[in-house]
């Protein structure tokens, strides 16, 4: 900024109005005082109201026994656990459904977006219909409709039984791998025969298999980086790039396969025993419904983003790259994708954030996410609405801010370096 015009002159009171520099300070001071007084008014009211109702403000209730059960939990939990642990269970459930939702929505969105541009008239129209129908109807409706589909239309587990006269009941889909029922969706479970049990890392109990896989992948990734640098060097010095892709594939594949062999990891398909499926994993329908609805809904938005991103790269870019003698794959990888991604990524991330926030609609399907545990049952059973709400909003805010920060970092890296 240019130095203030009044700089160097002795201060007079009238400069507060007429001097730009001092006026800016005055306005900021006034705004600050105004906002602070409103804030203090609110806090003061809150304190008064709490006192009037005889309530206190403390988070001690989090360490009390929760007393309720949660049907779907990633970490050990029962009704003797604390409210804090219940909140943790909820947070992990929120993160789980959000992460999987983002993954499926992206896959779906990329497919739909690309197919919408397809020369195939029928498929392009179908994708348009999908995108428009899902974008223009509230997410809550989709959640309720899919929930009704699952509860009303899907067969009960016992309907999968083959009757005594040999007539088969409902068919399992995906080669007998998945059985959607009106209670849960039975999917194959990943089972390790030689589970080494948990190890303690930095005071945290972590499954040793997770540690092993993480270490193997990390190592593979570092070798991969080194390999690429080596290939680049060779290309720079000799003009020929050695073929390395199969080495990279092996780098990742071999340790994974080896570890799977070592731990005896394999899939176990669900099978009907008695009235219920056993052997596989029975996924809570609340989870499946929410995941499906979130993926389908957000997928429609992502499809539009992907389409816009592809259309944003002008044809001239492809043609110029071809004129330079690049082959289709490098054109895609080096010219089109980087430019399309620059358009796609920021709105994509904001869709991911929307999906995470929308996962709070779990309330409609009874999936125990953060809002349902901390902001639902805990709030209700303890009557600590102020503390629970503040904590819950803080957690959602933290998730958003962390993701936004990562996005801003990315944006500043890929921004067009103009001017």
């Amino acid at each position: 900024m240019a130095p203030a015009p009044g700089a160097g002159q002795p201060f007079r009171l009238s400069m507060l109005i007429h001097d730009r520099h001092y006026r800016a300070l005055l306005i900021q001071a006034l705004v600050f005082i105004l906002v602070m007084s409103v804030a203090s008014w609110l806090v003061n009211n809150t304190v008064q109201n709490l006192a009037r109702m005889g309530k206190t403000f403390d988070f001690g209730f989090l360490t009390n026994r929760s007393g309720y059960d949660i049907p779907f939990s990633l970490i050990p939990y029962d009704s003797n656990s604390t409210h804090l642990r219940a909140a943790m269970v909820g947070l992990l459930n929120t993160l789980l459904v959000s992460a999987l939702g983002c993954l499926f929505a992206t896959i779906l969105g990329v497919f739909a977006g690309v197919l919408r541009l397809s020369r195939n008239w029928l498929v392009a129209r179908l994708m348009t219909v999908y995108v428009e129908i899902f974008r223009n109807v509230p997410l809550l409706l989709w959640i309720l409709v899919i929930l009704a589909l699952f509860t009303e239309v899907m067969p009960a587990p016992r309907d999968y039984r083959v009757a005594e006269d040999g007539t088969a009941g409902a068919e399992m889909i995906l080669f007998g791998g998945i059985a959607p029922t009106n209670r849960y969706t039975a999917v194959p479970a990943i089972v390790a025969e030689h589970d080494p049990g948990p190890v303690t890392v930095l005071g945290l109990q972590i499954d040793a298999m997770v540690v092993a896989f993480a270490l193997a992948l990390l190592a593979a990734w570092m070798i991969h980086l080194w390999l690429r640098a080596w290939a680049q060097e060779r290309q720079d010095s000799t003009g020929r790039r050695p073929t390395t892709w199969w080495i990279s594939v092996l780098l990742y594949l071999l340790p994974i396969l080896g570890l799977m062999q070592l731990f005896g990891i394999h899939l176990v398909a669900p099978e009907l025993r008695g009235f219920n499926f056993a052997g596989g994993m029975n996924l809570d329908n609340g989870f499946v419904v929410l995941l499906l609805a979130l993926s389908l809904y957000t997928g429609a938005f992502i499809a539009e983003i992907v389409r816009a991103g592809i259309l944003a790269v002008s044809r001239g870019q492809t043609e110029a790259a071809a004129a330079l003698g690049l082959r289709p794959r490098p054109i895609m990888a080096l010219v089109v994708l980087p430019q399309a991604l620059r358009v796609i990524i920021p709105p994509l991330i904001s869709q991911f954030l929307n999906l995470t926030k929308n996962s709070s609609l779990a309330i409609a399907v009874g999936y125990p996410d953060l809002r349902a545990t901390l902001g639902g049952t805990t709030l209700n059973q303890t009557g600590r609405e102020m503390e629970s709400m503040i904590l819950m909003m803080g957690i959602y805010l933290a998730i958003s801010l962390i993701v936004s920060a990562v996005m801003n970092l990315y944006n500043s890296r890929v921004r067009l370096k103009e001017r």
Partner: protein
């Protein structure tokens, strides 16, 4: 080959042949099919998959729609009729629930004899927004106005509005149409007055209360202008605000009561609690958007400002609102808002929800308008500066008119989002059309188990409204693009 000369061959054509029709495979439907559906193995596969999907969906849904029953008094009767007509075990839609209870899906528990009020308000809304939203194309403007005026008038007639009301509504539509045609700038005055009119017509009560509120604004404006003429600037604004607050708090209500005594002019009051269905969704959505607009503009300007304190505060507010799910904000409205207000303050849950939706929409609006501000060429800012305009003059005369215009598609997009999100009010016990209203109807013995029909009905209405708005936004975007590039 060299022997072949024109002279040696027996026949030489001296006229052009009429061009033959292309082979059947290269023309018409077949060509279109070949090019668009079966141009390669992948395409054939996709087409077949698409056809299978369409067939799967249609074959499942068609019988259900085809067997629809519109005339029945309960779900049991419906099923009986379907079984009689189409044989045992067939399924069919029971749209009789819509026929019997459509009014609740649309109006909630709004008193039936006053249904014309929201209907007329909706028709008038189109007249209020027409000068702003449909200023680009005369044809579109008149199509929208004609359709909305005729339908809302017809609906008023059908819903049994008294004759004098019909006369007033009809005359109002005609007068407004004339105003928009001949004095479009004056018509903006109606857009400004409309929210007061709408609030009065929807909630009822004495007409003098909204007029008294309006008078407060007029008072503030007069004081401010006077101050500006005397050259006290900011002080004048502060005095104006103080005068308005004094009017609203002390004098206004008394004056309104006195005027009501002198000239009684009132509609039957209707409680917020009676609002439900799409009336509730639209009331919350529209008031949220309208009220968030000024807030959003201020936030966007604050975020672009070069005063660090102002900018930081704006960023904090915007990021906070955008970082939490709307449903938590609604729970704040429902269970926490009363903590933040002075002890004993207590107002309507619908009003509290509107406040929260307004704050929510304002944060998104601020981002949309910020985009509009950023899209303006720098030359516009520099031009305004070089003319010697002050900050507010430049914003008012140069920057905002252009920035807001290019933000309209984004604003419509935000409205679609907010309108869809109004269904979430079901979780704080309000009667939204999608869940709470449907649940209430399903709780009665007659309609237990009617899940799909309400979903189809409300879904269709949401789709029609949102799809129309999104198309309109896209149309506008295209139009505005050609204007500026």
């Amino acid at each position: 080959m060299s022997e072949v000369h024109a002279e040696t061959v027996p026949f030489v054509r001296d006229t052009m042949l009429p061009s033959a029709a292309p082979p059947a495979r290269q023309s018409g439907v077949v060509l279109w099919l070949r090019e668009n559906l079966f141009s390669g193995p992948l395409n054939i596969l996709l087409t077949l998959a698409g056809l299978a999907a369409v067939w799967g969906i249609v074959s499942h849904l068609w019988p259900w729609f085809a067997h629809a029953v519109w005339n029945a008094s309960s779900i049991g009767e419906c099923r009986q009729i379907i079984a009689e007509r189409h044989g045992e075990g067939t399924t069919g839609a029971c749209f009789a629930i819509i026929r019997e209870r459509w009014n609740q899906f649309i109006f909630g528990f709004y008193p039936a004899e006053h249904y014309w009020r929201p209907t007329a308000v909706f028709g008038l809304m189109m007249f209020a927004v027409a000068p702003i939203l449909f200023s680009e194309s005369r044809r579109l403007r008149w199509t929208v106005l004609a359709v909305s005026a005729v339908t809302s008038f017809a609906a008023c007639v059908a819903l049994g509005a008294p004759d004098r009301v019909l006369l007033a509504v009809g005359a109002g539509f005609v007068a407004l149409a004339a105003l928009i045609e001949y004095a479009p700038r004056r018509a903006l005055a109606f857009s400004v007055l409309y929210p007061f009119l709408a609030v009065w017509m929807l909630w009822g009560g004495s007409i003098w209360s909204p007029i008294a509120v309006l008078a407060g604004f007029a008072l503030a404006l007069v004081v401010w202008r006077l101050g500006a003429r005397l050259g006290v600037g900011l002080l004048g604004l502060a005095l104006g605000v103080a005068a308005a607050v004094w009017w609203w708090a002390a004098l206004g209500p008394r004056v309104a009561a006195d005027l009501q005594g002198l000239m009684p002019l009132a509609l039957v009051p209707v409680e917020s609690r009676s609002f439900g269905g799409f009336l509730l969704a639209l009331t919350i959505g529209v008031s949220g958007i309208v009220m968030s607009l000024p807030l959003g503009i201020i936030l966007a300007l604050a975020r672009q400002s070069n005063l660090p304190v102002v900018r930081t505060l704006a960023v904090m507010f915007i990021e906070f609102i955008r970082g939490v799910p709307l449903i938590t904000l609604l729970f704040v409205a429902s269970i926490l808002l009363n903590y933040f207000l002075p002890p004993g303050t207590n107002f309507d849950i619908i009003l509290r929800v509107i406040i929260m939706v307004t704050l929510f929409a304002a944060a998104y609006m601020a981002e949309v308008i910020r985009g509009g501000l950023a899209a303006l060429p720098r030359g516009q800012y520099e031009g305004a500066d070089s003319l010697g305009l002050t900050y507010w003059q430049a914003q008012r005369l140069i920057i905002l008119p252009q920035a807001l215009k290019i933000s309209i598609p984004g604003i419509v997009g935000t409205f679609i989002g907010v309108f869809k999100d109004t269904t979430l009010v079901t979780f704080v016990g309000l009667f939204d059309p999608l869940k709470q209203m449907a649940d209430t109807i399903r709780a009665t013995f007659a309609w237990k188990g009617a899940y799909w029909e309400p979903y189809v009905f409300t879904g269709a209405i949401f789709f029609i409204l949102c799809f129309a708005m999104s198309r309109y936004a896209m149309y506008l975007e295209r139009r505005l693009k050609t204007d500026h590039r």
